[in-house]
Symmetry: C2
Subunit: 343 residues, 2 copies
């Protein structure tokens, strides 16, 4: 029926001539209820179709078995996989997930965090938006007694638990791979430098060049090329240089790498012979392109699991202890045809 009230422990108590406290104890299975009445209560609860009201329970217990997740975009492969990984763990623990997307907007990110604070969630798992401005909202999370785990895109300046990808190492490895394949002028497509992940990937790029005594050529480094279109645009510019690159590391994403490939194909530039292309993220399509794309797998679902496990295994116990606050999930370079100049 639509509007009938839900059965409460009082309904059960009344029916059995008992006190609500006994019903509560019986249902939580705790203690001090005789087996016989316990069985009776459970039976009646089932008959009356009883369900615990978790609002009341949470209010009284002062804790909410709920975790809030804030990501830039739910429907982005990386994040939907992270969420899936998180959900797998939290489901096991009987926790609920409240999901918000910031849509890459700082303002909205702040609002999402606000909502989650109001909801009194136990912990917030968060990856910051592209136009991240300051971290006041993150600080206020702790003020309200809520825990915080940052993942992937994090604010380095904050001393919170974090789950990270080895962006720098992965970028280093990717560029070194390009060098080993004999590419001489390696360009970089980079993302917004207010995001740690893009800074780190750039650092990896620079470190690899340095190690192999390659000069750093500013002209070969292109900012904000993180969509297919922007990747294509940047490629056009790069190829118009007096001395164009012979390889492009699209450190932002496989989408950008796809843009590079688009341009190469339009111009009849042979990949990987004349131009090497390396992407980032191992999107599903990257093994389907012609040629298939070399890229970096970030094990996004693993990242999600790690985030959740970090909370349950360490944070709930340690509180905010000063040890091992950062977990690294090592990514892996997936070498495919788009960079195999030496076959």
């Amino acid at each position: 029926m639509e509007n009938q009230k839900r059965t409460t422990i009082y309904d059960i108590a009344r029916r059995l001539n008992l006190n609500a406290s006994s019903v509560s104890r019986a249902l939580s299975g705790n203690s001090n209820v005789s087996e016989s009445t316990k069985a009776l209560i459970l039976k009646t609860a089932k008959e009356l179709n009883y369900r615990q009201n978790s609002m009341a329970s949470n209010l009284r217990k002062g804790e909410n078995q709920t975790i809030g997740v804030v990501v830039p975009r739910i429907n982005q492969n990386f994040f939907s996989n992270v969420i899936s990984g998180i959900e797998e763990v939290t489901y096991q623990k009987g926790y609920n997930l409240i999901i918000c997307q910031s849509n890459e907007s700082y303002e909205r990110e702040v609002k999402c965090v606000d909502t989650l604070i109001n909801q009194h969630v136990s912990c917030i798992f968060l990856s910051i938006s592209a136009d991240f401005a300051d971290n006041d909202h993150l600080k206020s999370i702790a003020d309200h007694g809520i825990k915080l785990i940052q993942f992937d895109r994090v604010d380095d300046s904050m001393d919170t638990y974090k789950v990270l990808t080895g962006n720098e190492e992965a970028a280093f490895e990717a560029v070194e791979h390009l060098i080993e394949q004999g590419y001489k002028r390696i360009a970089l497509l980079e993302g917004p430098q207010n995001l740690n992940i893009f800074r780190q990937r750039k650092a990896g790029y620079l470190a690899a060049l340095k190690k192999h005594d390659f000069p750093i050529i500013e002209d070969l480094i292109r900012e904000n090329a993180w969509t297919r279109e922007l990747g294509a645009k940047a490629t056009e510019d790069l190829l118009a240089l007096p001395e164009p690159p012979d390889a492009i590391f699209a450190s932002t994403s496989d989408f950008a790498a796809l843009g590079v490939l688009d341009v190469a194909q339009n111009r009849g530039i042979k990949v990987p012979q004349q131009l090497g292309i390396c992407g980032f993220s191992n999107e599903a399509f990257s093994e389907i392109t012609q040629p298939s794309l070399t890229t970096v797998d970030q094990f996004s679902k693993e990242i999600g699991k790690n985030v959740a496990n970090l909370y349950f295994q360490k944070m709930k116990k340690d509180g905010n202890a000063e040890q091992n606050k950062v977990v690294n999930v090592q990514p892996k370079l997936i070498i495919r045809n788009s960079t195999l100049k030496n076959g």
Copy 2:
């Protein structure tokens, strides 16, 4: 600080020598509070860093501004887009989303629904899992005064609000397109027939054949081919027939279509000349394959928005009124090279 208690309306009241009820009224902006004290309360609230405890509020008000979503897999393109669309609308309305994934398991779907009932959510948006067994759990949702909207994969036998894709029409259109292109023996890769969407797509296939006086050849209809691997496997079988098909409609997904393409490429079969291929869902990769894949775009994000709007615009008012309970989001056939025999 970590363990300090959160400020409540009582803290504010005490500080201002007022009663908590006035504070509550002031904060909810309702009425009957003088401008001066209202301003004072708002100011103090900010000073004390007050946040409403929504557990308490919801408990008292008996409603929970929360919606539960159950999908087979969060990290599946279609569903993550639907969720994204849902979130966009619910966010506007100040509602929270609790997300669960059934992992295509009926048992887990039941548990998800259980959890959401306990959480006392206002409404559940649900798409059933592949091994859907019965609808007792769906019925019990209404028993607890919770609304239900089914989308995409629905249990037809239940009279609930629904948001659907025009699967049958889309499949019909796809097959008709193949016929118009001159394909003569059109095979079908179909999914588990306990899911409405696959039944409907099959119906569309059959209807199109019938309209054009094509015989229905059982050998050309393959069950449970809904992954890349299974699609490839089914294609192997089809091509081994004495009279193999000259087109394959992978009604299950673009992944299955990709499996078809794999086999064609391995065997040197020319697409679309010797074999036409049509997929379903318009996955990101479908325009990247060589040749690009003809497929059906379902407007998944739109579906999500429609689901949420259905709740806010109709259901909350009408209750369970008997009119216009079903919304259709019409999909669109995206014709690409894999079927353009006459291109």
